[in-house]
């Protein structure tokens, strides 16, 4: 299992993600500095959370044009798997690798709290196939811009293609735990080929062993299983 974590100036969950990956795979992932232009073949590339380039201009906007991004686009074009968490999700959407956009939280405040997530029953995401979608996941969020937005056509397309992977609260009950005003309570979506997953909640902060929940571990574990098989 080869995992790479892309590090931008201002990334601040890179170490947390590294620990989580190493705990689950037994192997330390490679940390790839954004100024690099090539990416050795990997099974999974992760863009961690943080404030890449200080969130200046717009969250993820500058990182989306960093030198490493061409290599990441190539990896995606080959059908490679990518996980973007929080700022990583923002970067993937700014880079056009995921549909929609992450706007300022509805209450205009940073929000750090535990959330309850439903795994969509009809998700086409290839990375979490083994995740039991009848169980709720408890994974915390911490962001200023996690309010998922898309125009009506895009939103319809995402919904009908099964690209919605995670929703806040109960799937059948709208607004039952949405921390940021996201459309359709969306917390995580995937690309049309199901190989790129972007999510606002931080699985690396829900690894059990002192964390309030171990459901992030479950989610990451399912991704590693999907990649191996």
């Amino acid at each position: 299992m080869r995992v790479a974590i892309i590090v931008f100036p201002g990334s601040n969950c890179d170490r947390d993600m590294m620990v989580a990956v190493e705990t689950l795979t037994g192997r330390r992932p490679a940390l790839i500095w954004h100024k690099q232009t090539n990416l050795d073949p990997v099974d999974l590339a992760i863009i961690p959370g943080g404030f890449s380039f200080g969130d200046y201009l717009r969250c993820g906007a500058l990182a989306a044009h960093a030198p490493i991004m061409n290599a990441l686009h190539d990896h995606a074009a080959r059908g490679g798997a990518i996980l973007g968490v929080c700022n990583g999700f923002q970067i993937l959407s700014e880079a056009g690798m995921l549909p929609g956009y992450l706007a300022r939280n509805k209450e205009l405040k940073f929000v750090c709290k535990q959330t309850t997530l439903s795994v969509s029953s009809d998700t086409s995401c290839e990375l979490i196939k083994s995740l039991d979608n009848s169980e709720k996941l408890h994974i915390p969020v911490a962001h200023n811009e996690g309010n998922f937005f898309a125009d009506p056509e895009t939103l319809d397309a995402i919904e009908s293609n099964g690209q919605v992977v995670l929703r806040y609260g109960n799937e059948d009950k709208q607004n039952s735990g949405n921390p940021n005003g996201s459309l359709n309570d969306i917390a995580g979506i995937c690309s049309s080929n199901g190989k790129i997953l972007g999510m606002m909640p931080h699985p690396e902060r829900a690894m059990g062993a002192g964390h309030e929940s171990a459901d992030g571990k479950k989610l990451l574990q399912s991704i590693f299983e999907a990649i191996v098989t």
Binding site: P9, G10, N12, C13, R15, D16, V19, A20, G49, G50, F51, F53, G54, D55, Y56, K109, F110, V111, C112, K113, P140, A142, N144, H202, E204, R205, M207, G210, H211
Partner: protein, 734 residues
């Protein structure tokens, strides 16, 4: 400033120097100073940098201990935590700037204290704060709370250090002068600590980080004067923070330190390039020569005075090993930061600054530091009020009504509205975040954890400065103990009014003495700290607020406690029983909120009982007798119990003896006691008897979601939760 103009006393007075201090400057120079030189003297001799009013009393604090690696006098204190690791921590105020511009004031307070910690070679791992705002219904309060909260989060969240705990209080005395104290905690290898003393004449002096602008010029002097109606015009002296650059600077400095290239390092905090260059050279017993034309600036035509007194953020000064200069440059290039040799260490014992080829400043260093003024300011004898008898305070309302009222008040309600705006989990080592007795942060890569808290009860200090100073220490101590951790050491932030008034000076003197006695008795030395004086607006002083930040250690985080009440547990009060509890309601939150009675003697403190009870609680943890624990403080026993019930989502049934009025049992603020939940009550009782610790079997947790009291009172957990959770939001967002 092409030709240095000679200054007169009126210039010195406008920078806050007294006549006597002005004369001293002239004597040391042997001539009249120019603007830049006078600016340097006035900044170094400001209250903020020189501690001239408090030094005499700070020297009395205990600063030594087996584990202390570095006490006060460096950027932060350093304490050994075993296995080659050390905890590095300090608290610092940013009161004046935060009142003028709450977001930037608070943000740069966080940025500044983080630099103090990583300057020592430590990676910051946690932030805490201690905040005081005016009355919650005051017109300015919601704006200040929102701004300060957003500023603290804005910096901490972005740089990626979790804000794990703190305290927030509202009181009319802070209407015109809020208090924003920020504490940072870091981890270092105990044999890899970096200090500020320059060494090696000829070694290059390097400027790194952000460029210098005209922000915050002479901020240290602003922090050393009272506020008036004209304060708003001081907005340009508030610094502007850039947490992104702060993050890059932190990573670059830690990488450089790991590369063994740093000889000495000092952050440019208060008084910027002035204090950093002066302190580095003076501590090394050497001189320094700097060419100001080489300082990276972001504005044109900056004078020597402006460059030296700017408080632009995210800058560091260091002396490096010349053989490592290239490696150092590469590291800073990687992080896209300025790296500029601007001068060198000299043997002259003078600070010499060049500007456009001419000498802009030539000051002997020793007098600037060693001969800084130190005052023994007159202080009056505080008049300690009598205890207000409980029967005059007790209200004719039900216990349920009183509890609902208290736990929904701004003094005691949940701080969730504030702390959910802080990233409290980043770094993935937060075991207990905001909302408990103390925060618990795992020591990365080990089983150890640090217990962290900030505490002060200003209304106690105002009534009785000596006991109030002591109480800040013992409350912090109890918060650490309640989590099952061993208290190690403290940092303090002394916030007072104008020390030139004898009654204010008395508050400082007596509360520091109280702190001294408590810290010595509990073996928690003071390893760092900060003093903020002149917290007055139009002559009205704040309630005195000597904050304690305490750090404790637990060897295995899995043995740490929680305040969450578990099911099927027996409940005990430890430290009080039916005969020892005096039902102290004088100066309590109950008296303030329900009887509208402010003042009166605060509860007495028995250090011996505090230590004995604390040690007993730790022994209970060792014997696995504790399922949950919480100290009893503001609001009294029932408020503590309600917080445990809310955290554990459990009901409780309690029986109170008839030795006191039920209100006294529930809401008295007697010190040195805890509530414990245990699943082995018999063993707990035997151990307490053996250790001669008073205890009271209070009751048990129950499956019904309610609080049941033996006098017939009944209140649902839902009602308690509703009051607790809506208290702040409903009043800040109205």
């Amino acid at each position: 400033m092409s030709v240095p103009t000679k200054m007169g006393f009126e210039n010195a007075a406008s920078m806050g120097l007294s006549k006597e201090e002005w004369e001293r400057v002239c004597t040391h120079l042997g001539r009249l100073p120019n603007l830049c030189e006078l600016g340097i003297f006035s900044a170094m001799w400001s209250e903020h940098c020189s501690y001239k009013s408090s030094k005499k009393w700070l020297k009395t604090l205990p600063t030594q201990g087996e584990r202390v690696i570095q006490g006060p006098g460096e950027n932060a204190g350093v304490v050994d935590i075993g296995d080659g690791l050390a905890v590095v921590f300090k608290i610092e105020s940013h009161n004046h700037p935060s009142f003028i511009e709450p977001y930037q004031g608070a943000a740069t307070g966080v940025g500044g204290i983080l630099r103090d910690v990583f300057t020592m070679g430590a990676r910051p791992i946690a932030l805490l704060n201690a905040l005081r705002f005016g009355e919650i219904d005051h017109e300015k309060t919601p704006h200040l709370v929102s701004g300060v909260t957003a500023g603290i989060g804005g910096y901490g969240n972005c740089i990626g250090i979790p804000t794990v705990g703190g305290e927030v209080e509202f009181d009319a005395s802070y209407n015109g002068n809020i208090l924003v104290n920020a504490m940072a905690v870091g981890l270092a290898h105990s044999d890899r600590i970096f200090y500020s003393a320059a060494s090696g004449a000829g070694n290059p002096v390097i400027y790194v980080g952000a460029k210098t602008g005209r922000d915050g010029i002479h901020g240290a002097t602003m922090a050393s004067t009272e506020f008036s109606d004209e304060t708003e015009s001081k907005r340009p002296t508030v610094q502007v923070g850039d947490p992104f650059t702060g993050k890059l600077l932190m990573e670059a400095c830690l990488e450089l330190m790991a590369a063994d290239a740093v000889v000495a390092i000092q952050d440019m905090g208060a008084a910027g390039l002035t204090s950093s260059s002066v302190e580095m050279a003076a501590k090394g017993g050497l001189g320094m020569e700097i060419d100001l034309d080489l300082v990276p600036v972001r504005e044109t035509k900056m004078s020597a005075y402006e460059i030296m007194l700017s408080e632009s953020q995210e800058r560091m000064l260091m002396v490096i090993d010349p053989s490592q200069a290239e490696i150092a440059r590469q590291i800073f290039n990687k992080w896209d930061l300025d790296f500029m040799p601007i001068g060198q260490v000299t043997e002259t014992d003078r600070l010499i600054l060049l500007k456009e080829g001419e000498v802009a400043c030539d000051i002997p260093l020793a007098p600037l530091v060693d001969d800084a003024p130190e005052y023994d300011r007159p202080h009056s004898t505080p008049e300690i009020p009598e205890e207000v008898p409980a029967h005059t305070l007790i209200q004719d309302i039900s216990i349920s009504a009183a509890l609902k009222n208290l736990i929904g008040s701004e003094d005691l309600c949940s701080r969730r509205w504030i702390y959910e705006q802080y990233d409290s989990h980043v770094m993935a080592d937060t075991i207990i975040g905001p909302g408990g007795d103390c925060a618990l942060t795992r020591v990365y890569g080990t089983n150890k954890a640090l217990a962290l808290t900030t505490d002060c009860t200003p209304r106690y200090v105002e009534a009785d400065p000596y006991n109030g100073g002591k109480q800040a220490v013992v409350e912090a101590y109890r918060n650490i103990i309640a989590a099952g951790a061993t208290p190690l050491a403290v940092t303090n932030n002394l916030n007072f009014g104008n020390p030139e008034k004898p009654e204010i000076m008395a508050q400082l003197v007596h509360s520091v003495t109280g702190m001294k006695d408590a810290c010595a008795f509990l073996s928690t030395p003071v390893v760092s700290g900060n003093v903020s004086l002149y917290n007055e607006t139009d002559g009205n002083a704040i309630k005195p607020c000597p904050v304690i930040g305490m750090v404790g250690l637990i060897d295995d985080w899995q043995n740490a406690g929680t305040i969450a009440l578990p099911p099927d547990a027996a409940l005990f009060i430890i430290g009080q029983d039916a005969t020892t509890n005096t039902g102290w309601l004088s100066n309590s939150i109950y008296a303030k909120s329900l009887a509208q009675h402010v003042g009166g003697a605060p509860p007495p403190i028995d250090l011996e009982a505090e230590l004995r009870t604390g040690s007993f609680i730790l022994s209970c943890y060792e014997n696995k007798l504790v399922q949950a624990a919480h100290d009893i403080s503001d609001g009294g026993m029932l408020v503590a119990l309600a917080e445990m019930m809310l955290a554990g989502n459990q009901g409780a049934s309690i029986t109170l003896p008839d030795t006191l009025d039920t209100h006294s049992w529930c809401f008295a603020e007697n010190q040195s006691s805890y509530i414990i939940a245990t699943n082995n009550p018999d063993q707990l009782i035997r151990n307490a008897e053996h250790a001669h610790i008073p205890l009271l079997h209070l009751g048990k947790s129950i499956s019904n979601q309610e609080l049941k009291i033996s006098n017939g009172d009944l209140i649902s957990l839902e009602e308690i939760r509703n009051s607790y959770e809506t208290g702040l939001r409903s009043r800040l967002e109205k």
